[in-house]
Amino acid sequence: MTDDKDVLRDVWFGRIPTCFTLYQDEITEREAEPYYLLLPRVSYLTLVTDKVKKHFQKVMRQEDISEIWFEYEGTPLKWHYPIGLLFDLLASSSALPWNITVHFKSFPEKDLLHCPSKDAIEAHFMSCVKEADALKHKSQVINEMQKKDHKQLWMGLQNDGEKKNQVMIHGIEPMLETPLQWLSEHLSYPDNFLHISIIPQPTD
């Protein structure tokens, strides 16, 4: 009999092998080697990329460095989402490691929030926790959700009109009859949200 708590261990110790490469247009003094790292799924990009920053800054001139941001296949990566969520959402079908491009220029103001310091991450994280707490303990949302709503939610996740969706949490695809309550208890991110990635599947 496996215990449900074992899930927490897997959730907390999940790591994604990642290859960081500097964007080709960034000006460097010498060639920048790619940087390989195991990113914790439950953490945030800007929280765990100090090493990446240092690595690439070594080959760049000081004046070319502004705020670091990351991008995967053209999509800027929102640092305020957990890493695991970003990966599931954008790259779960591609081969490992996850190839992330590092930028130091042209910050996409429209897409990303600025992350001036670690305090900003903490503030954001805390507000998530509070929001989750408010939702949970005022209990309005979940309690008002009837079983049918749960089911509809799930069914809706699976089929979005004609298209077929892939539903992913923490890199796995739970069966649709998994109780939401269980998922919420065991597969929530540290911000207390159960982030579910819904990936539209290409129709044949």
Partner: protein, 1147 residues
């Protein structure tokens, strides 16, 4: 106990059982009879068959039920012919009972019923008080009502001897009719209801039950003398009642409720261990005056009732002081009956669908539970001829299909007249039922005019007998079930169900009706019918709050969309989605980490830190347990391997210090430091058991996991925790004594009192409650911390906690003066223990019985009063239960006192060697199981030995056996507590006298040496044992203060010793290893060469370790620890002995 079962009777009167581990209803093995009612208890079930006679079904077991009959032959000395049969006219009968008052000729002793057989003929008991008489069993006295002695004296005028004959109960796994040989005047009229309970009232005699019955005339009867050794009881006694009873329910403890015709309930008061029949009745009024009580069921501290309007009620305020409770609470649901089983769990039969419902969420704190949940398990017989999706669907939504038979002896069989009309068991059921549909239901109601006529709801049900065409059962030959005419009352359903179902599954409502109609057309409903039930009994059904039951799930084979139907009734533990999540997470970890371990961690290390408070045995002044703060830091290294450091924050001379210890790759991180002994109380922040976590992290850093090797040494602590240690190759090397504290013990899950292994992977254990367990091979540790999670099962154990009430004799009042001890104390009298404040041994234990009751006899105090006795005390006992998990499976049904497995003899041919396992049942029967192996460690049958001759009488209280392996296979040595040791070679048993004035309690046999332990803790070595003369010649004293001994196949001797000199104090329960055991010196060094663990151990088995040390220098090193000293003989008493740690861990 996992092998318990729910008993139920279907509408056809067939008895079924549903195992708590199973998924299908199984037809009772003896299915000849049809039954009205059953009432189950552990190992047996009582029932009323349709002939209104009472039957008992005793489950088969390896342990026979046997009783001894005795008769005494009396003779008087005559100057002419010596002792002769001629007695004086004033003397007793020549053949009499023990008192001499009753005439008892041998051929006049008859079997009580046809269910017994004689095991052997009468024979003379050659033993007297445990000693052989060698004179034909005669004992002598001056005159008859006197004390008899073994030896004939000059003034011995009379003599007598005892004749013995055994009878055995044969009707196992069969319904045995309770004989009614009572006086015809007193003969009970046909029975109407029956209830079995009372097993918690007292343990003496073993398996005692209270069996209560109600006859059709409304009288209440009590069956006398029902116990495990006497399963049928002896006779019925009539109990006076203030009214006519219709139904009765007897709880496991002191609750007994009866329903009256008038609708009130009668409550029996004054039931206790001395008076299980109780003393008086009091009346409880029904919840509402218009609807009287129809049915009650009681547990340990709950009462449930059904009123005539089918409503379910829960009685508030029931406890051992107030069996009547205070008020009724109405519960949801309409039931025809409810039954309270073990642990106060509740089952009911739905009023309309006749499905069995289980009350979910019943816990000690919430006895009324949460919801009713339908049991959807199908019958095995149905499964065999109907596996189609229609049947599966019908189980998935049992509420969708509601039938009531037009005729049946269901819940309304309280109607006496209809039952009485019914013909006997030979009634051709289906044929007769064929003509019954026209018979209106009302006619079945009793004409007794007691208000128990038609219920309004029933009429309504029976009225609209509308039959959906598609559901019309096909009366064809498809199955016998189809022959019974059904009335589909599905019309009632829409009033209640739609709100529920439609809301729950909006998109499946169409599907449900689909399931009702078109599928019904495909196949006649009779075949796939879900069982319709008439009666249920949970008296043998052990369900804990967290027990995982497979009763509520539908078997696979459904399409995913159909599976969602059962979403709400799928327990989380067994669900497919759960398995898939675990599987996917494992795959994910593999996929994302396997090939990338060389990548750098984004964050340098992952660290878990747990902090908490433990106690630490302070090995310097003041030498006591000291509270310390600890932090366990677990970090994952770059290679993904985990390591841990344990920091202990402590204070020495008011100076704060910290000590850290880590173990990397099995090396001792703490270096030469003294081993730390830590104790802990379970606390929330460390999970259930902090020491388990510590132990697990030690295992992890030592890379110890999985199944222990067959040679492993097993041991058990005083708390019942199981530890196992891998013996190093030179553990037994004489010149290389490994100090015991350096052995690494890892904990296995579970809870045992005795564990024995044999070196070939067979490991058996016995719990405190005598349950036998067999090791499954799981390497797992604990639930939640499990490193390996396979082969881990739920395990439970029961033990008694005793407290003592002390009184001093007061010359004025005769009693009541307080003593110098506490009024309420523990066994030693030194610690205060009151009834209210005594807690279960730890958080893992919970009370079973509601309050302490007077316990068994008073220890070393004697049970009678003499002139010199000025203080008295009595023992109060309360049962508590522990539920845990571990790699153990129950060997059922078997209650053992001891077990021994023939160890692997060094050099023996392993192939084709069938291992023999010997055991003593809790009643003293000697059992043997041949052919156990690692793959099949618990072969199915454990035949008890054939009649073993005149020693049998002693074996009833045998406590310890082990095998004398030098004698050929099949031999056993054993002893009985009356001071003799018996050894058998083949069929022959030898009597071996015990050491003078000592009573042996345990023996352990190695390859060539035999050790025995007496009740005073003396260890004895048997001298002169040779293969040709296995009896040996004499006992030689080796040591005192020994609690338990285990002699291994290399003749190595390990003991659990008391009062071992630690560095500063004496400790109890120390594992000691005798040094210097050599082929030429099988006793080991003079005195005791012992290296000890610190205390807290209770049992050890080294019988699996046949790993011979590599031959090194054969130079003998004197034992360092004790040398010539031996164990110090400290004065008895426990003062000064440190409190046994609540738990110990050795890192």
């Amino acid at each position: 106990m996992p092998n318990s079962a729910l008993w139920a009777v279907d509408l056809f009167g067939k008895v079924h059982t549903l195992s708590t581990a199973g998924q299908y209803w199984e037809l009772c093995k003896d299915s000849q009879l049809e039954f009205k009612r059953v009432s189950a208890a552990t190992q047996c079930c009582w029932g009323i068959a349709c002939d209104n006679q009472v039957y008992v079904y005793v489950c088969a077991s390896d342990v026979p039920i046997r009783r001894r009959e005795e008769a005494y032959e009396n003779q008087r000395w005559n100057p002419v012919g010596g002792f002769c049969e001629k007695l004086l006219p004033s003397d007793r009968w020549q053949w009499s009972d023990v008192s001499g008052l009753q005439h008892r000729p041998l051929d006049g002793v008859a079997l009580p019923s046809p269910h017994w057989v004689w095991e052997s003929d009468w024979y003379v008991d050659e033993n007297f008080g445990g000693e052989p008489t060698e004179k034909g069993g005669w004992t002598y006295a001056i005159d008859f009502p006197a004390t008899y002695t073994r030896d004939k004296k000059w003034n011995s005028c009379v003599r007598r001897r005892r004749w013995i004959r055994y009878r055995r109960y044969e009707s196992r796994d069969a319904w045995a009719k309770i004989p009614s040989k009572d006086d015809p005047e007193q003969l009970p009229d046909p029975f109407n209801d029956l209830s079995v309970g009372g097993w918690e009232i007292t343990d003496e005699p073993v398996g005692r039950l209270s069996v209560w019955a109600v006859s059709l005339q409304g009288k209440v009867w009590y069956r006398e003398d029902v116990s495990h050794p006497n399963p049928e009881g002896s006779s019925w006694s009539l109990m006076d009642t203030p009214g006519e009873a219709v139904q009765i329910s007897c709880g496991p403890h002191d609750l007994l409720w009866v329903t009256l015709w008038e609708g009130q309930a009668l409550v029996r008061e004054g039931i206790n261990r001395n008076n299980p029949k109780g003393s008086s009745w009091s009346i409880v009024e029904p919840p509402t005056s218009e609807n009287g009580i129809m049915h009650v069921s009681v547990g340990v501290s709950v009462v449930w009732a059904i009123t005539k309007d089918r409503k379910v009620w829960f009685r508030r305020g029931i406890n051992s002081h107030n069996p009547c409770g205070t008020s009724w609470i109405e519960m949801v649901g309409e039931m025809t009956m409810v039954n309270v089983g073990l642990n106060d769990q509740v089952w009911g039969i739905g009023c309309e669908d006749r499905a069995i419902y289980f009350r979910q969420g019943v816990t000690q704190s919430e006895l009324s539970g949460k919801t009713w949940k339908a049991i959807v398990a199908s019958r095995e017989c149905d499964r065999s001829h109907s596996g189609s999706s229609s049947s599966l669907l019908s189980q998935a939504c049992p509420r969708q299909r509601v039938f009531l038979p037009r005729r049946g002896h269901g819940p309304s069989d309280t109607d006496a007249s209809s039952e009485a009309e019914r013909p006997g068991p030979d009634r051709p059921g289906p044929a007769e039922s064929g003509d019954s549909p026209g018979k209106p239901r009302d006619s079945l109601a009793p004409g007794s005019g007691t208000g128990r006529t038609t219920e309004p709801g029933e009429e309504e049900v029976a009225g609209p007998a509308i039959q959906t065409p598609g559901l019309e059962p096909c009366p064809g030959p498809a199955s016998t079930l189809a022959e019974l005419p059904w009335t589909n009352i599905d019309l009632k359903e829409p009033r209640r169900a739609p709100s529920h179902l439609a809301a729950g599954f909006p998109e499946t409502t169409g599907l449900s009706s689909l399931g009702l109609l078109p599928l019904g057309l495909e196949e006649p409903y009779g075949a796939d019918d879900h069982p319709l039930w008439a009666w249920v009994s949970g008296g043998d059904c052990a369900v804990e709050a967290h027990t995982v039951l497979k009763w509520f799930t539908v078997q696979s084979g459904l399409s995913p969309s159909m599976q969602t139907l059962s979403l709400s009734i799928t327990p989380a533990q067994t669900a497919a989605w759960r398995k898939q999540i675990f599987q996917q997470l494992t795959e994910r970890t593999k996929r994302e980490l396997e090939n990338f371990r060389h990548y750098e961690q984004a964050v340098e290390q992952s660290v878990w830190v747990k902090t908490g408070a433990l106690q630490w045995w302070c090995d310097w002044k003041p030498h006591k347990w000291v509270d310390v703060r600890v932090a366990l830091e677990q970090f994952t290294g770059l290679d993904g391997a985990r390591d841990s450091i344990l920091f202990i924050y402590y204070v020495v001379h008011e100076e704060k210090k910290v000590r850290g210890g880590s173990r990397e790759k099995g090396t001792q991180g703490t270096g030469t430091q003294a081993p730390q002994v830590l104790a802990a109380q379970p606390s929330e922040d460390w999970g259930l058991n902090p020491l388990a976590l510590l132990n697990l992290s030690c295992c992890e850093s030592r890379r110890v996991h999985g199944r222990p090797s067959p040679q492993a040494i097993w041991s058990i602590t005083c708390k019942g925790d199981i530890f196992v240690s891998e013996p190093s190759p030179n553990l037994e090397a004489p010149e290389h004594v490994l100090p015991c504290p350096q052995m690494f013990w890892r904990q296995m899950g579970g809870h045992l009192r005795v564990v024995e292994a044999n070196g070939q992977g067979v490991v058996w254990g016995i719990g405190y409650d005598h349950t036998a367990w067999v090791y499954t091979g799981g390497g797992g540790c604990f639930q939640g911390l499990a490193s390996s999670t396979s082969n881990i099962y739920t395990q439970s154990d029961v033990k008694c906690v005793y407290i003592y009430e002390n009184q001093r004799w007061n010359p004025v009042t005769g009693k009541g003066l307080p003593t110098d001890r506490y009024m309420w104390s523990d066994a030693s009298g030194l610690q205060e223990r009151t009834k209210a404040s005594t807690e279960p041994p730890s958080l893992q234990w919970s009370w079973v019985s509601s309050g302490p009751g007077p316990g068994p006899g008073p220890g070393s105090y004697h049970g009678y009063k003499t002139m010199k006795d000025f203080v008295r005390r009595r023992c109060w006992a309360r049962k508590c239960k522990l539920v845990t998990s571990g790699p153990w499976l129950e060997v059922a049904p078997l209650a053992l006192a001891d077990v021994s497995i023939i160890p692997e003899s060094p050099g023996a041919n392993r192939s084709g060697h069938s291992i023999a396992l010997w055991a003593i049942s809790d009643k003293g029967d000697v059992l043997c199981r041949l052919g156990v192996s690692e793959l099949n460690p618990a072969v199915s049958t454990l035949p008890h030995l054939p009649a073993l001759g005149p020693f049998w009488g002693f074996w009833r209280i045998l406590r310890k056996i082990e095998l004398w392996t030098k004698v050929r296979l099949g031999s056993v040595s054993q002893l009985h507590p009356e001071s003799d040791l018996a050894l058998a070679a083949g069929d022959c048993w030898y009597h071996i006298p015990s050491p003078p004035k000592q009573r042996l309690k345990q023996v352990s046999v190695g390859q060539t040496s035999v050790y025995a332990l007496d009740e005073n803790g003396n260890l004895w070595y048997r001298q002169g044992v040779t293969p040709s003369y296995p009896q040996g010649s004499s006992w030689e004293h080796v040591s005192n203060n020994v609690r338990q001994v285990s002699v291994g196949p290399l003749d190595q001797v390990w003991v659990i010793a008391n009062k071992v000199q630690g560095s500063h104090s004496l400790s109890r329960g120390t594992v000691c290893h005798r040094t210097g055991v050599q082929p030429r010196e099988p006793k080991g060094k003079a005195g005791l060469g012992l290296r000890g663990h610190t205390g807290g151990w209770d049992h050890i088995s080294v019988r699996a370790n046949a790993t011979r040390a590599l031959r090194g220098r054969s130079q003998e090193r004197a034992a360092e620890c004790s040398g010539e000293r031996g164990l110090p003989g400290a004065p008895s008493g426990v003062a000064g002995v440190p409190q046994e740690a609540p738990g110990l861990v050795r890192c």
